[in-house]
Amino acid sequence: MYLFDALLGLALAAALVLVLRPAVTRSRDGKIFAFAALFLLPLLAFGLGGSEQLTRSEQTRFCLSCHIMAPWGKSLYIADARYIPAVHFQDHLVPTDAACYTCHTDYAQFGTLQAKLEGLHHVWVQYFGTPMKPIHLYQPFNNQTCLHCHAGARQFEEDPTHSAMMSLLASGTLSCVSSGCHDMVHDVGQLPKQKFWSPKP
């Protein structure tokens, strides 16, 4: 972030020099300066800033800043450990500042890119289109997202139920969250009936 601030300040100052004194480009050094000020530095600043913006888009508060997502954010505070997203969030089994992104990103080769593109699509639809009602996943929840953390973990591996169906879980034939095992997820329709955990300030 500090690098971006410094680069942005430098790029801005250089561009302003050319706005105020374009005559500096008459010399050879001035031409090199103009190339840096009007091409290299702005491109670098855009690249660094864009990278920072994309990193910020992974934050929980970024996702929940759209009003339409508020119920899903509230469901993270349900005071019932059977609710999978709530227990992961409240017990810090996922990074709380990137909770949505951690569980809703495909960890395959282009998973991050796909998540970013879908996120941009969500932003576009939020402001310029019509969001789907009710909100639902594009595809069934991918077991690999769960296995990314749980596979190889002792508690998971030593559970006889898990070990008996590991091949089915790995292949996606049996879903972790919709086959009667861990199917209490966000369930936003039930929010009015729930009690909520209030973290200490």
Partner: protein
């Protein structure tokens, strides 16, 4: 045919102004963590910076 010096400098000044405005826009968006900030960064900030760069490159080509 190359551009007269005055016209060349006028274009460079415009390119610099576009880029400076774009960079300022980008700087403002960095104060917020919000989808609108992301869209503004890419759409408005990136667009202005891109327009300035293209204008500069076109000026170079014509020169």
């Amino acid at each position: 045919m190359s551009l007269p010096v005055a016209r060349l400098e006028s274009r460079l000044r415009l390119a610099g102004a576009l880029i400076a405005t774009g960079l300022l826009t980008e700087a403002v968006t960095m104060a917020f963590v919000h989808p609108i900030a992301l869209l503004t960064f890419v759409g408005l900030g990136g667009g202005l910076v891109g327009a300035g760069i293209i204008l500069y490159l076109l000026t170079l080509v014509k020169q």
